[in-house]
């Protein structure tokens, strides 16, 4: 059990929403939408959903595995950054109307700078005139970067979950260490009547489980229900991907993809339905839900989350109406003793360069250019950890599984040579950059350079490990907008 310290509540005025909860109005059905699939996602579906559906909650996921490391880099350059600023833009659009409709918003947009994100959201809400009684809840404590050296000194080994490497090799290169925690501190904020809750690295699905558990008053050992809440979140946390986006089954028949709606879950003690807002594009059907259901799950009988170990090995998904799907037979088992911690570390540099070639013999010319570049790099003493050569238009995506039928390859209209290198130092990575554009005049015919000179990027490695729950001190807070 993480230690939950319900800390200083700055103000205690009771908002309209808070009053409703204080009066103990029971919900027997929770309707919750997924408003964002990642940092950089479109706001359109979330705006549509808040305006046009009867949701009680919208949860917005901004954090992929690497996002926090990128945010930490931003914050090192500018201490006011390090969170998903996009969320503030979204709040400009939906903050007021969500408050008026009593829709509560939960997000992990706080990233590596939760308090700045909260201040920014607060300012934005104030400008919209939604200050009276509005409460922003937030959760601190997932960032344990500063504790790592001490824990290591005390003998904690940070064993890599993928069984690679020794932690001592990366311990001096750490950027950030963040723990995936569960629903509890979000529930604490909800109990205090928070209208919007901003977190860092909570598990994506806990953003959804928290309000569902809170409203339906589920107990901590009600494993089957916890698992149902987690899977509702799992079906929603990738936004459009749960409603016909990235849909292999029949992408041509997804209606109005330009107005793609995001999925909405309706959950009670008995049923879980997935649907979407009225009057938007997208599709909710058996196949669209199935593709998202096992997405990024490993063992379906033991999908581990901080809240519960989920068993979907016997689950069923069935059409239950137009854009409406029913999900059943989700089971749960007690949660794991330890929490996952992802440690981001500096792991060198990389650069990717491109040069395009056209018919005739486009591929042969591109290969020849690659050969020239490799000879030059050898002569200039390039020290690369890894070099990856591929041909966009032929095999850059499917790699070894691509169709290399000689007839097809010979007749290609065009192909783009892509050379990517990974190095220990920035200077090494830079060596290849000035060599690309000269090949327009100095190499095989018709080479075309585009996009300007390539830029060297930092490589951030991820070190997943498991840590004891009591190594994390999570605290819930409320800021009242005034």
């Amino acid at each position: 059990m993480p230690q939950l310290i319900l800390s200083t509540y700055l103000f205690v005025a009771v908002s309209q929403a808070g009053l409703r909860y204080a009066m103990g109005v029971n919900m027997d059905k929770v309707i919750i939408g997924g408003g964002q699939g990642f940092w950089g996602d479109s706001n359109d579906a979330a705006i549509h959903m808040v305006r046009n559906s009867n949701i009680n909650y919208v949860a917005c996921d901004y954090l992929a595995e690497l996002t926090l490391s990128i945010m930490e880099r931003q914050k090192l350059k500018n201490p006011q950054t390090g969170y998903a600023k996009d969320f503030v833009g979204l709040m400009k659009e939906i903050g007021k109307i969500a408050y008026e409709k009593n829709i509560r918003i939960i997000t992990n947009a706080g990233g590596m700078n939760i308090t700045s994100a909260v201040e920014d959201v607060s300012k934005t809400l104030k400008k919209q005139g939604v200050s009276e009684g509005y409460k922003i809840g937030y959760v601190l404590g997932d960032d344990i970067t500063e504790n790592i050296p001490k824990m290591f000194e005390e003998g904690f080994d940070f064993k890599n979950m993928d069984d690679i490497g020794d932690f001592s090799e990366i311990k001096n290169k750490i950027l950030n260490a963040n723990v995936y925690y569960g629903h509890e501190p979000i529930v604490e904020c909800l109990e205090q009547g928070a209208n919007t809750i901003v977190t860092g690295r909570v598990a994506d699905s806990a953003l959804f489980l928290a309000p569902i558990l809170h409203e339906l008053k589920w107990k901590e050992d009600d494993y089957n229900n916890l698992a149902r809440g987690i899977m509702a979140g799992h079906l929603l946390e990738c936004g459009g991907q749960g409603a016909g986006g990235n849909y292999q089954y029949d992408w041509r028949r997804v209606p109005r993809m330009d107005e793609l709606g995001f999925p909405i879950a309706e959950i009670t003690n008995d049923d879980l339905y997935i649907t979407k807002a009225p009057d938007c594009g997208g599709i909710i059907c058996e196949q669209s839900c199935k593709e998202q259901f096992l997405y990024e799950v490993h063992d379906p009988a033991n999908y581990i989350t901080p809240d519960v170990n989920v068993d979907i090995s016997q689950a069923t998904i069935a059409q239950a109406g137009d854009n409406r799907v029913k999900v059943d037979n989700i089971k749960g088992n007690p949660r794991p003793d330890r929490l996952k911690c992802n440690i981001g570390y500096h792991a060198g540099y990389k650069v990717a360069t491109y040069l395009s070639f056209a018919w005739p013999d486009a591929y042969e010319k591109a290969q020849y250019a690659a050969d020239i570049l490799m000879k030059k790099m050898k002569r200039k003493g390039l020290k690369a950890e890894e070099i990856h050569i591929s041909y966009v238009g032929l095999n850059a995506l499917h790699l070894g599984a691509a169709d290399m039928n000689p007839e097809l390859v010979k007749n290609m209209n065009e192909v783009v040579l892509r050379i990517a290198i990974r190095t220990l130092t920035k200077d090494e990575a830079y060596k290849i950059i000035p060599e690309i554009s000269p090949l327009q005049l100095n190499g095989p015919p018709g080479a075309s350079f585009f996009g300007g000179r390539a830029k060297v990027q930092e490589v951030i490695g991820l070190w997943p490990t498991l840590i004891p729950r009591d190594a994390v001190k999570l605290t819930s807070h409320i800021l009242e907008v005034k």
Partner: protein, 106 residues
């Protein structure tokens, strides 16, 4: 027995966790489930991907969904930003998987 692309009888999606790629595969119609179970073995997947997948491959069967989940370790060229691949998150591993040739009745 006719030979078809897996995409003709199945659909699915790929995802990433670190350097691990998972591909879920569902029969387009329940009648194809047995053919997928028979044809898309771990050995066949390993042969299909060759060097692209350097680690263990595990298949989980989920008959209640007419589906399977394939977990492929060390499959993304290092994962995260280590990977030098254009598709470092393996978004297209799902369609690469569906290029597999399988035998079906009729």
């Amino acid at each position: 027995m006719a030979e078809v692309y897996l995409k003709d009888i199945a659909h699915g999606r790929s995802g990433d966790k670190g350097d691990t790629s998972n591909v879920c595969v569902f029969a387009r119609e329940p009648r194809y489930y047995d053919a997928i179970a028979r044809e898309v073995t771990v050995e066949h997947v390993r042969e299909h991907f060759g060097d692209m997948v350097k680690g263990e491959i595990i298949r989980y069967d989920v008959p209640s969904l007419n589906g399977f989940n394939f977990v492929m370790k060390h499959a993304l060229g290092g994962g995260a930003t280590h990977s030098l691949r254009l598709d470092s998150l393996g978004k297209s591993i799902g369609s690469a998987f569906m290029r597999m040739k399988v035998k079906v009745d009729g």
